[in-house]
Structures are given as structure tokens and as C-alpha cells.
């Protein structure tokens, strides 16, 4: 028992990710943790999206299953699992069967390199960001094959749309990512990195998030990425592949039950994945706000209280709503449930004040909080925007984002080398021109 505790402690103080350290046991534990955490995040996201969207649309959203519909996602999951699994007659059965798994695999595999903290990643790859972009782009295969295998027109059009859309926006996305990677090479050895952890370390070393680097270039790159990532995940206003008013449900029209829920799971984990990329590249990953400006032990201590306070606030919100619950015997269980949920949240918050926990959850908290911000944006977009038409979508991708991305890349490169550009290009050319003018006169 003591040995086990020591083993865990030795791990907790490690400065390597389990994959880098070659520790297969911890790697497995991490894989499971990430998988479980992701599933919980998707479930929470399901509930949050419905509630937030509902409140944006002057309605209440799910209220029946559990207090404030808290158990709704679980009820939904149960319903989906119990539903009949229909494979249409004339569908290509094997491909129809495989397609959702391709999407889910692609969406989940990327989390291998997502850095939740300096050591909190399953592994740190030399090609981290490339791996993320590549594997997340594999999901388009699943979508295309799903649409094709359904042997129906609407899914086929949805599949064609989504393949064209995802391939197009990958280009702009790649350019934005490259411009951020370029910024990582601004150090003494002028060696950049593709590693996700390395990118965040570079932001830490350079003392600013890449969002604010080379103002306004960083922000433009971020904006391009933020637009492209919505298109990549087929969400509003770029949700043409599953535009319900046009293509009923797009590529997953013919899917039902468990298989449909896999698409759902994949969509939300892909959203989290691309948000993680954005957070890692531009928003400083796990770094807390102002790590350089407000540094020192006092500030560290102050910021380390924020996770606990956040959970306490959530708990307080639950208690407030418990007090607002209708005083009716029918609502007794719901009231107790909500109070219990609040108590759990508050307890988590209290646990987060304990020094050993406090010191270790900061990274994960800040990373998750930033990702959560993106998730809120996704919901907000969905509540606000109409849907683009397909040709307009392509126009935005190829005629706006791509040229902007290219120009941005060039500008970033020039700015990064501004001293060289000045001494080796501008000054000699200017001197030559001045000389020319002098001779002319």
C-alpha cells in the first residue's frame, strides 16, 4: 500500500507526460481519464446547449427529468441506446456500420496530444499540432462514407457538402495554424516546435499569448481559425451538411439510435478538440491569465483559489435555485436533488482549496475554462445566425479566409524577421535607390 502511494506520488511529481516517459500504465490511466472526462463533458455540453439555447429563445428547455432537467442527457442516452437500430434496405451494410466509428475514433484520438497541463497530456508528440489537424480531418471520411452508405439522396448531398466544406476550410485553418507556429520560433535558437506542449511553453517564454502577439496579426490568425473551426465541426452557421431545413438531417438522416448517438458524441468531442487547438495555439493553453504581469507567490496563491471559488459559485447558484423551487410536495425530490447537486459542487469547490489539490488543478481548470468559453460561443452562434448557403460558404472559405490567411502568413514572417528585412532588404534597396537618384541628378 505504501509502495502504491509512493508510486502515485512519484508520478505526480514527474515532469514528463506518461507517453514521453514511456510509462504505459499511467498512459492507460490517462487515456481512461480523458475518455471519461470527455464523455462527461459531452453530456454536460448537451445539457448546457439545450438550456442556454432555450434561455436565449425565451423558453426554459428541459425541466422535467431531474431538477432543471439535469438528468435529461442521461435519459436521452438511455432512449438512444434502447432505440431500434435501423439499417435501411439497400444501404451498404458494412460501410454503414463502420462510418460512425470512424468519426468517433477520429474525434477521440486527437485527445492523445491535447495538453491539459505541462504534464497532463497522454503524450507529447513532436508533430502534435500536425497530428491533431490530421486526425481530426479523418472524421470527414466517416461523414462521407456515412452519407454514401445510406443509399439516399439527402445524406449523399450532405456528405458531398461536408467533404467539400471540411477540405476547403482545412486550408484556411492550416494557414492560421502555421502563422502561430511561426511565432514559436522567436527564440535564441530560432527553432520552432509543432509540439502542443512546446507551443504553450513558447507562449510562456515569450511572455504573451499568441493572440496578442504582433498585434493585430495574432488576432487575425485567431479569427481565421475561429471561423474555420466552426466550419470544420459542421456547426451553425456553417451546418450545411446537416441543415435540417434543407437536407432533413444531412449525412445522418438514415441513422438512428446508438449509431446516431455516436455521430452526436463525435460532433461534440470534435468541437472540444478544435477549441483545444485554438486555446493551445492562441490563448496560452493551461497558463493562467497574466502569468508574467502578475507573477510571484502572492498572485500564484490568489489565482490558485479561483477554481475553488468557481465551483463554490456554481454550488451557490444551485442553492439559490433550490430556494426558488416551487414549494409543492411533487417537487420535493427535485428540490432535494438540486440541493444535493449544489452540495456536490460546493464540496468539489472546497476540496479544490486544499493545498495539494489547489496546486495541481490550476492548469486543468484554466484550460477547461478557456475551452468552455469556446463552447459557449458555439451555442451563441447557433442561437444567433442564419445558415450560409453553400456557394457563400465556399466564397467565404476560398475568397476571404484563404487570401487573408496567406497575406497574414507573409506579414507574420516579415514581422518576425523585421530586423533582417530592414538591414538586408529595405536599407540596401533604399541606399541603392538614393544612389541612383543622386547619379541621375
Amino acid at each position: 500500500m505504501h509502495a502504491l502511494v509512493q508510486y502515485i506520488e512519484s508520478y505526480l511529481s514527474s515532469d514528463k507526460t506518461p507517453g514521453t516517459a514511456g510509462n504505459w500504465f499511467w498512459a492507460t490511466v490517462y487515456v481512461l481519464l480523458v475518455f471519461v472526462g470527455l464523455s462527461i463533458a459531452v453530456i454536460a455540453m448537451n445539457w448546457l446547449e439545450r438550456k442556454i439555447l432555450a434561455h436565449m429563445q425565451v423558453r426554459l428547455g428541459p425541466m422535467r427529468v431531474g431538477p432543471h432537467g439535469l438528468l435529461q442527457p442521461i435519459a436521452d442516452a438511455l432512449k438512444l441506446l434502447l432505440k431500434e437500430d435501423i439499417i435501411p434496405d439497400g444501404a451498404d451494410k458494412v460501410v454503414f456500420w463502420i462510418a460512425p466509428f470512424i468519426v468517433v475514433l477520429a474525434a477521440f484520438t486527437v485527445f492523445v496530444v491535447v495538453p491539459f497541463g505541462p504534464t497532463h497530456a497522454i503524450t507529447d508528440m513532436n508533430i502534435g499540432i500536425l497530428f491533431m489537424l490530421g486526425v481530426s480531418s479523418l472524421s470527414v471520411l466517416g461523414i462521407v462514407t456515412a452519407g454514401w452508405a445510406s443509399n439516399s439522396h439527402y445524406p449523399l448531398i450532405g456528405a458531398l457538402r461536408s467533404s467539400a466544406q471540411m477540405v476547403s476550410y482545412e486550408v484556411a485553418m492550416g494557414l492560421a495554424v502555421v502563422s502561430a507556429i511561426l511565432m514559436t520560433s522567436l527564440n535564441e535558437s530560432s527553432t520552432g516546435t509543432l509540439s502542443m506542449i512546446g507551443i504553450v511553453e513558447a507562449q510562456k517564454a515569450q511572455g504573451e499569448w499568441f493572440l496578442f502577439k504582433f498585434f493585430p496579426l495574432g488576432i487575425i490568425a485567431f479569427a481565421i481559425f475561429a471561423i474555420a473551426m466552426v466550419a470544420e465541426t459542421n456547426r451553425a452557421p456553417f451546418d450545411l451538411p446537416e441543415a435540417e431545413s434543407e437536407l432533413t438531417a444531412g449525412f445522418h438522416t438514415e441513422y438512428s439510435g446508438f449509431r446516431w448517438s455516436l455521430f452526436f458524441l463525435a460532433e461534440y468531442s470534435a468541437m472540444i478538440a478544435v477549441s483545444s487547438i485554438a486555446v493551445t495555439l492562441w490563448l496560452g493553453g493551461w497558463l493562467r491569465p497574466f502569468p508574467n504581469l502578475l507573477h510571484g507567490t502572492t498572485w500564484d496563491l490568489a489565482f490558485s483559489f479561483i477554481p475553488g471559488i468557481a465551483f463554490l459559485l456554481l454550488g451557490a447558484m444551485c442553492f439559490y435555485n433550490t430556494a426558488r423551487m416551487p414549494k409543492h410536495p411533487l417537487f420535493k425530490i427535485q428540490t432535494i436533488g438540486l440541493a444535493g447537486f449544489g452540495a456536490v459542487l460546493a464540496l468539489i469547490g472546497l476540496v479544490m482549496f486544499l493545498p495539494p489539490v489547489r496546486e495541481r488543478v490550476g492548469d486543468i481548470f484554466w484550460f477547461s475554462a478557456k475551452v468552455a468559453g469556446f463552447m459557449y460561443l458555439y451555442i451563441w452562434y447557433r442561437g444567433t445566425f442564419p445558415r450560409y448557403r453553400f456557394d457563400q460558404l465556399m466564397k467565404v472559405g476560398w475568397k476571404v479566409l484563404l487570401p487573408t490567411g496567406l497575406a497574414l502568413l507573409i506579414c507574420t514572417a516579415l514581422w518576425a524577421m523585421r530586423s533582417e528585412v530592414w538591414t538586408q532588404v529595405v536599407v540596401p534597396v533604399g541606399m541603392g535607390f538614393a544612389d541612383f537618384v543622386r547619379r541621375l541628378l
Binding site: I157, L240, S245, R382, P386, F390, Q392
Partner: protein
């Protein structure tokens, strides 16, 4: 713009052989489809996403309303008209009652006229609100739907208070009104007017200047005024194409000539103009309601009509400006208690004819937008 009469019907069996195209595709949109507003079936022939032509298949909701009329007395048929355009039941009732009144040569007393105008205009707002919500939903904006339904609820409450029904109101009777306005009717209407004014601004805030909305609606489903007239298209669609034709002004019925309001017209005849025209129409309706509710005279609500109606032998065509366009009733009487023939000229049915013309060479997504902007109700198309 092509002459609509020159459009050949869609030949579905033999694709265009002059140029072999891998992308050509015939898809069935509907009758079960989220964006065809009921049970409209549209057969689309596509080149990739471009619409080469389309054909509407209607009749899924056919109930033989016109035939039923021949076996009902004039009074008994009155509730049936509510079931045609079920989102604008009050207008349908108004048209029918006025047509029969003309056949009988009676006129509803002024008080009834005023209340009729108030209810009809309220109904016009409700119909436009429902149109806006579903149209925006089709284009992908899901939020306006809930806003408009929230506000439409207030109108339905007034209807419910007035006549007990929310949707199929059956509010009017031949010769006037069945019910006197309830206590507080005027106050309710006034409250509604002041309630809904900022709400219309709210819808516009979400959509009018939204870039995506502009891109999706501007230049989409363009139809010229000439084509509209050739196809018999009426209502906001016609007005958005620049033709200032509103039966409330052109052939005033009820007592619309007493009210001061404007007929909005568009210039381009595209989806955006139709949207703007309808938004202005809502405000104009509010203006009419404000004037009407101030000036409701005292007096009887029913004209003298016989218990058993036997209109003289003859025929009448009476049309009104329903929210969707010209709603006409052609009634032939053979002197008996039942009409010899009732023919309804439903605006949705006639407007739907323009769909093919408006959708040619546009994209699939535009078909959805155009179906939405035509504001059809399948109950009225199929009758």
C-alpha cells in the same frame, strides 16, 4: 427574366442528353420534409446543387372544401373556410361573410365592421409572425421562431377571449358578428399594440442587418412585377416586385377606406424585399388597429339577415386582401339555401405557381428560402 408562360414542364424521365453530366440528380423534397411547410412535395431536378427545374405535387391535404360547400347551407359552410388558411382563419371568414353579404345585398353595421377590421389586422400580424418565424427557421436562424411565437400568443389570447377559439376562430357571422366585443377588448388590443411594437424592432434587430441573412435573401428568388401579374401572384410577393396593388386600397371592402395606412412596395422582387414588405405591413396593420380601436362606434353588431338564407339567383366574386394575397370567393346561388357552387381563389395556391420560375438556376438552399418567402399554407393550396 423569362416569360413564365414559356417555361416547359419538368421532364423528369429523360435527363438533358445534350451534355452528359455526372451530377444530375432528381430528388423528392417532401411530402414529409421539415421545410415544405406541410405536405408539399417538390420534385427537384438538380445539377449538383443548382436547380434545373422543379415541379410541385400538391393535393396531399385535399379535403374537397369547395364540394362540401355545395351540400351545406351558407351558414353551415362558414366554419369550413377557417380550415383553409388555418393561420389566417379570421381573414378567410371575413372574405366568405362579405361575399355572402354581397349576395344577400346586406351590409354589416359599422361597429361590426370596425371589430372585423381589428380582428383581421391582428390576424394579419399573427400570420406574418408565423411566416417570419418559420421562414427564418428555414434559413437557419432558429431564434426568431420563438420570439414570434411568443408574441403571436398574445394575439391568440385576444382571439380566444373574443370567440373561444385560437386557431380556427369562426369569429364572424354573415351579416355582422356573433359576439359583442368582450369587456376590456379595447384595452387588450391597445396593450397588444404597445406590446408588439418594440417586438417587431426586436425581430428586425436579429435579421434586417444580419450579414448572413442579407446574403441568403438578397437577389434570391427574384420575380419581376410583370411575371407576378402574368402568374396571378398577389399579396406581399407582388408588392415586393414593385406593383402597388393592395385590395384594401384598390377595391376597399369592410371600411378600410376610412383608415389611413400605406402600401409598402419593394423594388427588386427578391426575398429580402418580401421580408421588408411584410415587416412594414405588420407596422401598418398596427396603425390600422390603433385607428380602428379609437373609433369603434356604438351600435348593433348584426345586420338584418334572415334566419334561413336564400340569396337571390346570381353570382358574386368578392375578394379581400388576406395576409398572403388576394383571397377571392366566387359564389353562385341558385336561390336555394345551399350555394350552387363555391370557388375559392386562394392566394397560396396561385402564388405557389411562381415557385418554379423563382427557383430556376438557384441553389437547393434557395428553394427553401423561396418556399418560405412565398408564405404558403398547404391547407389553402389543397383545400
Amino acid at each position: 427574366m423569362t416569360d413564365p408562360r414559356s417555361l416547359s414542364p419538368l421532364d423528369l424521365d429523360t435527363p438533358d442528353k445534350t451534355f452528359l453530366d455526372a451530377n444530375e440528380l432528381v430528388i423528392n423534397m417532401g411530402p414529409q420534409h421539415p421545410a415544405t411547410h406541410g405536405v408539399l412535395r417538390v420534385i427537384l431536378r438538380l445539377d449538383g446543387e443548382k436547380v434545373l427545374g422543379l415541379e410541385c405535387v400538391i393535393g396531399y391535404l385535399h379535403r374537397g372544401v369547395e364540394k362540401i360547400a355545395e351540400n351545406r347551407t351558407y351558414t353551415m359552410f362558414n366554419p369550413y373556410v377557417d380550415r383553409m388558411d388555418y393561420v389566417a382563419a379570421v381573414s378567410n371568414g371575413l372574405g366568405y361573410c362579405e361575399a355572402v353579404e354581397r349576395l344577400l345585398s346586406v351590409e354589416a353595421p359599422p361597429r361590426a365592421q370596425y371589430i372585423r377590421v381589428i380582428l383581421t389586422e391582428l390576424n394579419r400580424i399573427a400570420s406574418h409572425q408565423l411566416w417570419l418565424g418559420t421562414h427564418a427557421l428555414d434559413i437557419g436562424a432558429i431564434t426568431p421562431l420563438f420570439y414570434t411565437f411568443r408574441d403571436r400568443e398574445e394575439i391568440l389570447k385576444i382571439f380566444e377571449k373574443y370567440c373561444g377559439a385560437r386557431l380556427t376562430t369562426h369569429a364572424f357571422r354573415i351579416g355582422g358578428l356573433q359576439y359583442e366585443a368582450y369587456d376590456g377588448f379595447e384595452r387588450d388590443v391597445k396593450n397588444f399594440v404597445s406590446f408588439v411594437k418594440p417586438k417587431i424592432d426586436e425581430y428586425e434587430e436579429l435579421l434586417t442587418t444580419n450579414r448572413i441573412w442579407l446574403e441568403r435573401t438578397k437577389g434570391v428568388g427574384v420575380i419581376s412585377g410583370k411575371d407576378c401579374i402574368a402568374l396571378g401572384v398577389t399579396g406581399p410577393v407582388l408588392r415586393a416586385s414593385g406593383v402597388k396593388w393592395d385590395i384594401r386600397k384598390a377595391q376597399p371592402y369592410a371600411n378600410y377606406k376610412n383608415f389611413d395606412f400605406e402600401i409598402p412596395t419593394g423594388e427588386n422582387g427578391d426575398t429580402y424585399d418580401r421580408y421588408i414588405v411584410r415587416m412594414i405591413e405588420m407596422r401598418q396593420s398596427l396603425r390600422i388597429i390603433e385607428q380602428a380601436v379609437e373609433g369603434i362606434p356604438e351600435g348593433p353588431i348584426m345586420a338584418k339577415v334572415p334566419k334561413v338564407m336564400k340569396p337571390p339567383v346570381g353570382e358574386v366574386y368578392h375578394s379581400i386582401e388576406a395576409p398572403k394575397g388576394e383571397l377571392g370567393y366566387f359564389i353562385v346561388s341558385d336561390g336555394s339555401t345551399q350555394p350552387y357552387r363555391v370557388r375559392v381563389r386562394p392566394p397560396s395556391f396561385v402564388n405557389l405557381q411562381a415557385l418554379d420560375l423563382m427557383c430556376r438556376d438557384q441553389l437547393v438552399a434557395d428553394v427553401i428560402a423561396v418556399i418560405g418567402t412565398l408564405d404558403i399554407v398547404l391547407g389553402e393550396v389543397d383545400r
